[in-house]
Amino acid sequence: MDLSLFRPVEAAVTLSVIWLGLGAVGLALTRAPRVITDWAFPAGAAVALALAFTGLWAMNAAPSTAVLPAGLPDLPFHVRVDALSGFFLLLLGGVSFGISLFSAGYFRGAEAGAPGLLCLQYHVFLASMGFVLIADDAYLFMVAWESMALSSYFLVTAEHHDERNRKAGFIYLLVAHLGAISILLSFGVLHGGLGDYTFDALRRAELSAFWATIAFVLAFLGFGAKAGMLPLHVWLPEAHPAAPSPVSALMSGVMLKTAIYGMVRVIYDLIGGIRWEWGLTVLLFGAATSLFGVLFALMQHDLKRLLAYHSVENIGIILIGIGLSMVFLGSGHPVAAALALIAGLYHTLNHAVFKGLLFLGAGAILRATGLRNLNEMGGLIRYLPHTALYFLIGALAISALPPLNGFVSEWLTFQASLQAPLLESSVVRSLVPIVAAVLALSGALTGMCFVKVYGVAFLGQHRHELPEKPREASRWERAGMLWLAAACLALGLLPVFMIAQLNNVSQALIKAGLPDEAMASGWLWLVPTSSAQASYSPIVFLLVIAAVFALTYFVVRQIYHGRLRRADPWDCGFPAQTSRMEDTADGFGQPIRQIFAPVYLIRREIPRPEDPHPVFKQEVEDRHWAWMYSPIARLAEWLSGHVGRLQQGRISVYLLYSFLTLIALLMFVR
C-alpha cells in the first residue's frame, strides 16, 4: 500500500468507522460488562486521541477529498477534510479522549442499565459527529446529523424509568428535528435546482441577495436550535442533565460545537458573500443568549442543569465572536474579521474543554454522593480532593479568569470588539461596544455563579448526612478529568500555538489571517494585531504570582514564624454553627433574583400567618415557555385535533383518500 495515498481524510473516515465497530462489539458483548468498561471504552479513547492528531495534521495540510463506496447507488457519500474540519476533529478527538477515559470508570457501576447498549449508542454518537465534520455533500451531512440526534436521544433517555427524562428526550427530539428541517431547507435553497448536492456544487451556486439571505436565516435558525441559541434553547437545560454525566459532557462539550461547525461551514464556506447585516443578527442573538444563559444559571440549584445553562451562555459568547467576524468581513475588514473568527473558534475549543471537565466533575460528585442538588452538598473538598482540584480549574477557566483558557478567548473577543472604530456605519459602531459591555457583564456573572457552585458544593460544612463516606473518583475517572484540566492549563498558558493553527483555518476560510507582526512575537507573548495595541503573557502572569507566593511564604517564616493552632470557627463569637446557617445555592443567587427580577417568571407560595407548618416555595421559570412555546403547543394541538377528523378508522375511507390523491397528482403533476 502506498503510504502517500494515506491522507487526513482516509484517517478520519477509518477512525470513525472503528468507532462504529467498537459500538457493534460492545453490543455483541452485552453479557460481559467488564470487558466493555475495561477494553471498549479505553479503545474508544485511543481512537479519539488518534482523531485529534488527524485533526491537527489536517489543519496543516492541503484539503483532501474522497468518495466513499457507500450510500445510495447513484448517490455516493463524499467526504472532505480541510483546515476547518481538522480543527473540529481535533476538538472532537481531544475532548472525547478525556470523556471516554472517564466513562471507562463511570459506567462500571452500570447504573444506566445495559452497558452493551450504552456502548453502542455512545460510539455511534461519536462516529456520527465525526461524519458530520467530514461530510462533503448535503446527503451524508444530513444522514450523519440525524444519526447524531437519534443516538444522543437514546442516550438522553438511557435512564428512561424516570418520567422527566422521557419528557426531556421528547423535547430534545422535537427541537432537533425542527432544526434539521430548517437546515435541510437551507441546503435546498442553496442548491438552486442544479440536481447536485455536493458541497462543491452548493459553493458554486449563484444566489441572488434575497435567496442568499433566506439560506442564511434558515441555516442560522437550524444550527442555532442545535447549539441552544435563544429562544430555541429550551431543550438544552432539560436534555443535558437527563443524560448520564459523561454523555452530558459529550453533548455540551462536543455536540453543540458541531452546530457551530455547521454554522461556520454553511455561512462562510457554502453561502459566502457575507453581509454585515447577517453578522449583526448573529451578534445580537449571541449577546442576548449569553446574558440570558448566565442569568438563568444563577437561579439553578441542580448542578447539571446549571452547567447546561452555562452552555447556553457560552454558545452566546461564541456567537458574539462569529457575529463580530461576519460584521467585519461584510464591511471589508478581513484582518479584524480573522481576529474575531479566531476568538470565536478558540472559545469553541475552550468551552468544549472546560465544560467537558465540569460535567465530568458533576458526574464524579453524583457517583460519590448520589447528589445533584447543590443545596444538599457541602464540604466535598475534604472527601474528593482530586475532583475538587480539577473542578476548581474548570470553574476558574469558565469564569474567564487569567491565566486559564477561558480568559484568552474572552480577551481575544474584547480585542476584536475594540476594532469597532474601523466600521463605517455609526449605528453598528456603537452597537459593538454595547455587545462588549454585555459580554463583560456575563463574564462577571459567570464568576459569581461559579463561586456559588464551588462554595456551596465543595466548601463549607456538610449539609446532608450521607449513608456512607463519599469515595474519591476511580483512577479512570481521575485520568479523564486530569486530561481535560491539563488542557485548560495548556490552552491558557500557551495560547500562541493554538492561535497559529487557527490562523491556518482563518486563512483557508476567509483568505485572511492575523498580521505577521502578531504571529512573530514569540511563544511567550500573545498579541492580537500589533504589540503596541495589546499584549498578554499568561506565563509571566502565573510565574509572578507563584514567585510572590513562595517568596512571601518563606520570608514570613524567616522573619517571624509559622506557628499555627486549630480551633473552632470564630464567626463573631457565635457559638452554634450549623450547616443550616450557610448560604444555599438559592440564597447565593438571591441578589441576582432581586436585581434582574423582570427577566424571570417567579412563582411564590407564601404560607398564611396562622399555618402551623409553613412552607415557603419559590420557583423561577423561563418566560419563553409562556410566550412562545405554550401558544405553539396549543396551536399544534388544535390543528391536530381538526386534522384528526380525517381519521375515520375505516379502510374504505382511506382508500378513497389514496384515490383522490392519485387523481390530484395526475392532474397537476405531469
Binding site: P433, A444, G447, V451, V544
Partner: protein, 316 residues
Amino acid sequence: MKQASGIVFQVLQSVLVVLIAPLVLGWVNQCRAWLQNRSGPGIWQPYKVLNKLFHKDAVLAHNASPLFRSTPYILFGCMWLAVGIVPVLATSLPFAPAADVIALVGLFALARVFASLAGMDIGTSFGTLGARREMMIGFLAEPAMLMTLFTASLISQSTSLVTIVETLAHREFVIYPSMAFAAVAFLMVLLAENARIPIDNPATHLELTMIHEAMILEYSARHLALIEWAASLKLTAYITIGIAIFVPWGIAQAGDWVALLVALGVLVAKLALAGAGLALLETVSAKMRIFRAPEFLGTAFLLATLGMLIHFLLEQ
C-alpha cells in the same frame, strides 16, 4: 543596558509601591480623622498593625481546607502583580506587556473569586454572607471598570496601559467628554471595589452591614496581615490606575534617572491629594443600604458605557 535598567526600574517600582501601600491607607485614615475632628492614630499605624499581626500565632478553624490557607498568599501575589503592571513611576517596563487593562481587570477578578471562596470555606453564616455580597458588588463593578478602561483604550487605540499613558500624557491638553464620564464611573468603581463608604465601611465590624470584613472574619495573624496588606495594595493600585489614565503627566521613561526622581515627587503629591480627596468623600457621604449598592454600581456601568458611546458619536 537598556534591558538591565528596565528590570532595575521594574523591581524598584514594585518594591516601592508594595512598601508604601500601607502608608497610603494610613494617610487616608489620618485625613479622615482630621476631618472628623479626631487626632487620629498617625499615618504609620497600618505598619504597626501589620507587624503585630505577623507576630501572632495563626488560629485556623478545624475544617479549613488548603484553599483557605493559600488564599492570602494568592491575593498578595495578585496585587503585587497588579502594581507591577500599572505604570506608576515609569513607562516601558519589562513586565508591562505581560498584561493589558483587560488582563488587569481579570487579575482583580481572580483575587475577588479566591477571597470569596475562602470566605465560604469554613461555612459560617458571616463568611457566606460576605462572599455573596462581595460577588454582588463585583459582578457590577467589574464590567463598569472594563468599560471605563475601554473608553481610554479607544482614544489611544490600544488596551496596553503603557500606550494609553503615553498617548494621554504626550498630547496637548484636550478635555474629552467621554473621559469625564469615564472618570466619574471609575471613581464609583474605586469606592465599591475597595470597600469604602458609601458601599462598605472599612472601619465597621457591625455585623449586618459589613461586606469585605465579613468575608475575612475567620482569618488571623499572618494570613490576616497579608490580606490587609493586599487590600491596601489594591487601593493603591486603583488610585495609580486612575492617576495613569486621567492625570498621567509627570511619568518617567524607564532608564531615565532624573525623570524618575521628578516622577517620584509628582507621584507622592498625587497620592497625597488622592488620599485626602478619598477621605473627604468618605466623610461627607453616608453608607448606603446594601440593596442600594446595585443602583449605585448600575449607574457607574451605564455612565461608563455612555462614555464609550459618546466617544463613538462625538469624538471620531
